[in-house]
């Protein structure tokens, strides 16, 4: 095999991805949209898809001043934060840990006294009673971590100063937010491992289309009269799709984390996720070649590729009702492995994870070889 020819063909395939809008959508934008859509619907943005966050409020200020109530009203009035009252901090923190709420605000005992002191002596900080509002946030949601503190700060400033211009210093400050890892998983958390497989299975369609359209346009014949060997053509397809698959996994992982995916594990677990999804990519290259072997046109390739895509999608991604029969499709094992690692915290050496990897690897090798043989025998003309 010749490296220059393989690189030339691989580069050509990658150029196609970013120069053909339909392919760019399928390979890059579709996984992004899918992740955002599922994350917004089932994830940390709230089960109904609206952008509100449940905030537990523990009011330790039992004085007669109206400021604590005003602060709570201000939080509710944002429309973005929904106040859930708690009698004590430990119950609120427990619910935060369980994922029932997104943040906890603790109004300190001397909150009212602090604002009163400011009101009486607005220009004499030495006379103020200083206090600190406690804030704890769900560590697993980057959106909560980023969006809630500034909103709470704004409400606090409005409570203290009213419509006056905000100025420093102020008698009440917000303590450094404490990030709390929630142990309750959202519906999106259970779906996210399936999303990794979901994007990779569409490689079947792109590979089937690539080979059939090149055949239709006479490009395979044209390449065949150069010294390029079939193995160089197949290798370049595999490399190009592995590169695309790597990008897809990176996009989905980043998107899922951004949307609140509570993935357990560290760099090794993420590397495992890349590896097993790339094996699924190889497997779907094989399915794509099988498809291209039996169809006459790229249009037919699109249609027939769903013969391989749909079972993998329905049985092996994130539709639990049908997963009992999912053991016949490779995507099932990818989703199962990623669920074990990211949600159950299974070590990479656990039998389940290793077995899943072995099954996907074996399926990928067999299906890729079958695809290459079928295309070499039936697909060239």
């Amino acid at each position: 095999m010749n490296a220059q020819r393989i690189l030339a063909l691989t580069g050509k395939e990658l150029r196609k991805v970013y120069r053909e809008p339909a392919l760019l959508f399928m390979v890059i934008l579709f996984p992004v949209m899918l992740t955002v859509a599922f994350g917004a619907t089932f994830g940390a943005l709230g089960g109904g898809g609206d952008t509100t966050y449940a905030v537990g409020v523990v009011n330790l200020d039992h004085s007669a001043t109206p400021w604590a109530a005003a602060f709570k009203s201000g939080i509710s009035a944002t429309g973005m934060l929904v106040v859930v009252d708690y009698q004590d901090n430990s119950t609120a923190m427990k619910d935060l840990l369980q994922g029932s709420i997104d943040a906890v605000i603790v109004i300190p005992e001397n909150f009212g006294a602090s604002i009163d002191s400011f009101r009486l002596n607005p220009n004499n900080p030495g006379a103020w009673v200083n206090s600190t509002v406690g804030l704890s946030l769900d560590k697993g949601s980057m959106i909560v971590s980023a969006a809630v503190p500034p909103v709470v700060q704004r409400v606090l400033s409005t409570t203290i100063y009213g419509d006056m211009a905000v100025s420093e210093p102020q008698p009440v400050r917000i303590g450094n937010p404490t990030l709390v890892a929630s142990s309750q998983l959202s519906q999106f958390d259970y779906m996210a491992p399936g999303l990794f497989a979901y994007a990779a299975i569409f490689i079947t369609m792109t590979v089937a289309q690539a080979f059939t359209s090149e055949r239709e346009q006479g490009l395979l014949r044209r390449i065949a009269v150069t010294p390029t060997t079939p193995s160089e053509i197949f290798t370049s397809q595999i490399l190009a799709n592995l590169a695309t698959g790597t990008l897809q996994v990176a996009i989905i992982y980043a998107g899922a984390r951004l949307m609140g995916f509570h993935a357990l594990g560290g760099a090794a677990e993420v590397a495992y996720a890349f590896a097993i999804v790339l094996l699924l990519v190889v497997c779907n290259i094989g399915f794509g070649l099988l498809t291209a072997s039996v169809v006459k046109s790229s249009g037919a390739a699109t249609g027939l590729s769903f013969l391989f895509i749909l079972p993998q999608m329905l049985l092996g991604t994130f539709i639990p009702a049908l997963q009992s029969v999912g053991r016949f499709v490779p995507s099932y094992y990818v989703t199962d492995a990623l669920t074990s690692i990211f949600l159950r915290g299974a070590p990479l050496t656990s039998p389940v994870v290793l077995l899943d990897l072995a099954v996907v690897a074996a399926m990928s090798v067999v299906i890729l070889i079958a695809g290459i043989l079928a295309f070499s025998r039936f697909g060239k003309s």
Partner: protein, 246 residues
């Protein structure tokens, strides 16, 4: 010295014989014109010589190599301009040409030099950075030719290379093909342009229904058949006109 030899070459598709017992030899450095009507077997013959089709029977050698056993060696020395342009719409004209140079494992400097030279010759310098999908029919024909010749092949198979070109570009391409011959390249040219064959070819082979019915220089053929052009020669031999291949 023969560069291309065909011995009783035959190709059948089912019951239909498309190339029928074809034998001929083409000298090294010769520009050989293959003339014939639609379906005569010209393109099938070229496909066999390029390794795209297996012959049913007979033998052929290209550049001294057997087409049945040494095709990989043959592919290193040939350039093929297909009748139907085949190119990547999402690549620019330059990228299409360079891709095929890289498939021939050309060194980077030589590839750039040859690409520049070819784009200049076929008049695509100004549009070299435009995606080929936006090219006109004539421009596609020109990039199709450049892709075939970027590897500076010793033997070139040009299957209707000037179809759909405007007269000016066609004549520039003829000059380019003459230049290839002047540099000692062996060329097989199929064409339905009688003028093209008469102007360029050292010898012409006329094929009808898969059989070689005449073989000589254009001048000798016209003299032998008392004709003023090769079209008349074909009419006298077959009673039919050479029609444009589609």
């Amino acid at each position: 010295m023969l560069d291309i030899e065909l011995e009783s070459l035959t190709k059948k598709f089912g019951d239909k014989t498309v190339v029928d017992d074809l034998s001929l030899g083409i000298e090294k450095g010769e520009l050989f014109g293959l003339l014939g009507p639609n379906g005569a077997g010209k393109t099938t013959t070229i496909k066999i010589l390029c390794g795209l089709l297996e012959p049913t029977s007979g033998a052929a050698r290209v550049g001294g190599h057997d087409i049945r056993t040494e095709m990989h060696e043959i592919r290193k020395m040939i350039g093929v301009c297909p009748q139907e342009p085949a190119y990547y719409t999402f690549l620019t004209g330059r990228e299409n040409v360079e891709l095929f140079g890289r498939l021939h494992n050309m060194p980077r400097d030589l590839l750039k030099e040859k690409t520049d030279e070819l784009l200049e010759t076929v008049g695509l310098v100004e549009t070299a950075s435009t995606k080929a999908g936006k090219y006109s029919g004539g421009m596609i024909r020109r990039v199709n030719l450049a892709m075939a010749l970027v590897n500076d092949p010793a033997i070139a198979f040009l299957d209707e290379p000037t179809v759909a070109m405007d007269p000016q570009t066609r004549h520039a391409t003829w000059d380019f093909i003459r230049g290839l011959k002047a540099r000692g390249k062996t060329i097989i040219l199929t064409t339905h342009y009688i003028e093209e064959a008469e102007s360029l070819a050292d010898r012409v082979g006329i094929i009808d229904m898969g059989r070689l019915i005449a073989l000589d220089t254009p001048r000798s053929l016209m003299k032998k058949h008392s004709a003023t052009n090769l079209e008349e020669v074909f009419i006298k031999l077959t009673g039919r006109k050479i029609r444009e291949e589609t």
